[in-house]
Amino acid sequence: MTTSPLLSPTVLDVLCPMHVVVDATGHVTHAGPTAQKLWPYAPLEGTRFLEVFCVKRPRAISNMHDLTHAADRKLHLEIRNAERTALKGILVPFDSAGGSIIVNLGFGISVIDGVRDYALTNADFAATDLAIEMLYLVEAKTAAMEASRRLNLRLQGARVAAEEQAYTDTLTGLKNRRALDTVLTRLLSTPSQFAVMHIDLDYFKAVNDTLGHAAGDHVLQLVARIMVEETRASDTVARVGGDEFTVVLPDVHSEKTLRRIGRRIIDRMEEPIPFQGEDCRISASIGTVWVRPENAATMEEVLADADLALYASKHAGRAQQTLYTPALRAAANRVQAPQEHKGQTG
């Protein structure tokens, strides 16, 4: 073989340790130390190049003749083993008289798998090869990304907690008006069957006035607990004013259910509430509207109907529940009409 002394295999082993020299018959005559590591089964020297490496692109290279004509073009190769490791290659004539070629190989993007599959070390790459820097970068960036991901998760958790706070009444832990609006908007956006209960405490002002605000707060916290206990987890209990509450009950199928729930809430609220040696006595008036797909309404209408039913309970002597009916609205309009008329003229 007549080769330039500068391009001796020893020089090539340092400059490009993943090269192979192939003679005119297609047999490997020399393999760089790293190239040999890719084929640990037998010495590469003496084997046929195309029996170890399969050329994927340019397509249809199946013999030595095709291969020598692919000089100076980027080759995409695959090792014929279980890993089918993808390699890049470049081919140059080595000894034009003898017809031998040099194929220099590289991992390209498969470097991470390659290093693991063939247990390569820093010493297996040329000092100028960026493979080690690439591995370093992938590992460093992965660690940095993981730290960022953890931060994002914590921030997301904090945001959820903050939103939860904003939907919650701090004194009672119940939902607030904002949460109520969200729930009602959602329910009204599709044809659904649900109920809205307005609950107003009776005689609460007397507790506040005679026993003080601490007693009042205690009562509010207790009645909040009662309402949560007497409703389902899927129901929404919101505090919408000082001593006013609204309960939204999805999937209600009968008025009987509503009457039973209302009765239980009133009964439990009427039990004396001990506070610092005194008994606080309250009750509750409830106005309830049962919304069904056939009597669809806006949120304002639903809340106004529940209010109307609540005032009916108050007028009827408190401590009771009234279910809204269109008749109630008609009666209210009859009472209100002359007043409105008077307002317009006066």
């Binding site: 591995l135 370093y136 460093a140 960036k141 992965t142 660690a143 940095a144 730290a147 931060l151």
Partner: protein, 195 residues
């Protein structure tokens, strides 16, 4: 200053001296929080204030605490990645020492807003080196001493290190390599990933 640095100081103090000591340190410098986020940025003054308060509260010389911090950075559970990434710098300890000049740039490739103090390695005769650490933070040279001791061990090299003092933001470490292959060293698997 980058949160990663303050976070590391926090973890070092909490693991070594306990959470109450850390809370004491934060209170002493007037912080209204005690948890640093690794991937956020903080006021530059926090880091030096934390380190000064750390020596005061714990009651140990700053130099030895800084070296402990350096050791912690590359040995503590959860910091495997830091040691592994340093190992990418070289195939043996001398190679590694020569990679230190590039360390700040390598770090910034991974975390673009993390600026580490500049390092300069000078080789002298007989396997002697000196490492100049150019840092605003006093005692940074001691942190590097802690790191270098662990890394020498990692590479299986026997090295003698001495903090040669310094002034005006430059501290110098003398390094004498007694034996490059003194012990087996810790195996470094390029293809493995730190947990």
């Amino acid at each position: 200053m980058h949160g990663l640095i303050n976070r590391t100081i926090q973890q070092f103090v909490c693991d070594t001296y306990g959470v109450p000591v850390w809370e004491d340190i934060c209170a002493r410098i007037g912080l209204e929080f005690t948890d640093f986020e690794a991937m956020l940025s903080y006021e530059k003054s926090y880091t030096s204030d934390l380190l000064t308060a750390m020596a005061d509260v714990v009651g140990r010389p700053r130099a030895s605490m800084m070296e402990d911090l350096g050791t912690y950075l590359v040995t503590a559970p959860g910091f495997d990645a830091a040691r592994r990434l340093l190992r990418f710098g070289g195939v043996n300890f001398v190679d590694f020492l020569h990679s230190l000049d590039d360390l700040p740039d390598r770090v910034r490739l991974a975390v673009s807003d993390l600026y580490l103090p500049a390092l300069e390695l000078h080789s002298h005769a007989d396997n002697r080196f000196s490492l100049r650490c150019m840092a605003d933070i006093s005692g940074y040279g001691h942190v590097m001493m802690g790191i270098l001791r662990v890394m020498a061990d990692d590479y299986g090299a026997l090295a003698w290190l001495d903090h040669a003092g310094g002034s005006a933001g430059v501290e110098t470490i003398s390094i004498s390599l007694v034996a490059a292959d003194f012990a087996e060293g810790r195996h470094f698997d390029l293809g493995a990933r730190a947990g």
